[in-house]
Structure formats: C-alpha cells, structure tokens
Amino acid sequence: MGFLSPQDEQAVKKEFERMGGPVKLTVFASELGPETNGQTVALVKEVAALSDQLSVEVLNPHIEREQAQAYGVEVTPAVVVEGARDYGIRFLGIPAGYEFSNLIDSIVAASTGEAGLRADTVSALGALADDVTIKVFSTPT
C-alpha cells in the first residue's frame, strides 16, 4: 500500500529515537498539480505516523495563500520542516530516494536544534549579516 516497507519503517523509527522534541511537517500540495503532490502527502503522512513527536499539516497554496507566502512556498509539492522554530528547511518535489534520507536527517536535526557542525563553522555562520538561500538540486536516484 504505502511507500515504506516494514524494513524502511524500522530503520526510520530507529533514526527517530534520536529526536529531541516535536517537529511539524507542513506539506503544500495541490490537486491540480502533478501526481507527486498526492504522493508527497501520502509519504509524509507515513513518515509522521512513525513518531508521536511528528505532526503534519497539509495546505493548498492556492487556498492558503497567506501561509504559502509566509513560508516562501511558490511551487508544489513542498514540505516545510519546523522544530522549535522555522529553520528555513524546505523540500521542493517529492522527498523520495536520496532526498528521503535527507528528510529524515532534517527531522532529527530540527527536533534537537543541534546543527552538528564544527564550532568555527557555527561561529562564522553566526556572523552573517545578510540572508542566504542555499538551493540543492538532486534526483531521487
């Protein structure tokens, strides 16, 4: 039925044991968009079912325009990963394949707020005076 095999679910649950707080996944999807919209909603719901600390909200950006604008979402499907605050983590397109492990990693990291970076990296990033947008293009395989 679903995207995740029982083995996948076990592996993800094991990762989620490291979660340190609640994480909200907001999915922007449109029925008028390509089929990956519905697939993304289904996949994210499957993932969220694997931890009590995960919640999901599904929004249609054509209807919930203000929220789409607030999150800076201009395309669908899009998934916003929020922990104690909105860290600015977005997945555009279905987070499957290679991006799936990034999604799980992002959820765990957002739950703790721990970046897990070198101290000098964190220090240098803390001195940023302007906004920075990092786009990472990848493919499912």
Partner: protein, 71 residues
C-alpha cells in the same frame, strides 16, 4: 546535501531548499543543472558534488559578501 540543512539550523539567516531536479525542469534549466547534487547559493556561487564542510562554508561566505554595486 545535509550540510545545507544543518547550516539552516545553525543560522536564522540561512534557508535550505532541497529541490527534486526532475520535477522542476524549468528551474533546473534556469540553474543549468547538468549533474547532481548541484548547489547554488544566493544565485551567485555554485558547485557540483559533495565538498567538505570548510569548503561549503567558504562558498556560503563568498555568496553572502556584498557585491561592489551594493557596497
């Protein structure tokens, strides 16, 4: 690319967008995505493939520098 997301957690200035290239062909064309992962920072600095944290940081700092026009 996990570094991008982790940097977003470290800094409120940073937004990390993980984009499925085949789903957004126009965006991929616009950013000339020929190989993945391809990283584009502030539409100014770009590179392909995984690089060490130090080099990734240098790329972010380079992209964040004000341009001569803006300075």
């Amino acid at each position: 690319m996990r570094l991008a997301q982790h940097m977003a957690i470290a800094s409120p200035r940073i937004t990390a967008q993980c984009i499925e290239a085949t789903e957004f062909p126009e965006l991929s064309r616009q950013y000339r995505v020929m190989a993945v992962p391809k990283i584009v920072i502030n539409d100014r600095v770009e590179f392909e493939g995984a690089i060490p944290e130090k080099d990734f940081l240098d790329a972010v700092l380079r992209a964040a520098e004000p341009t001569e026009r803006e300075a």
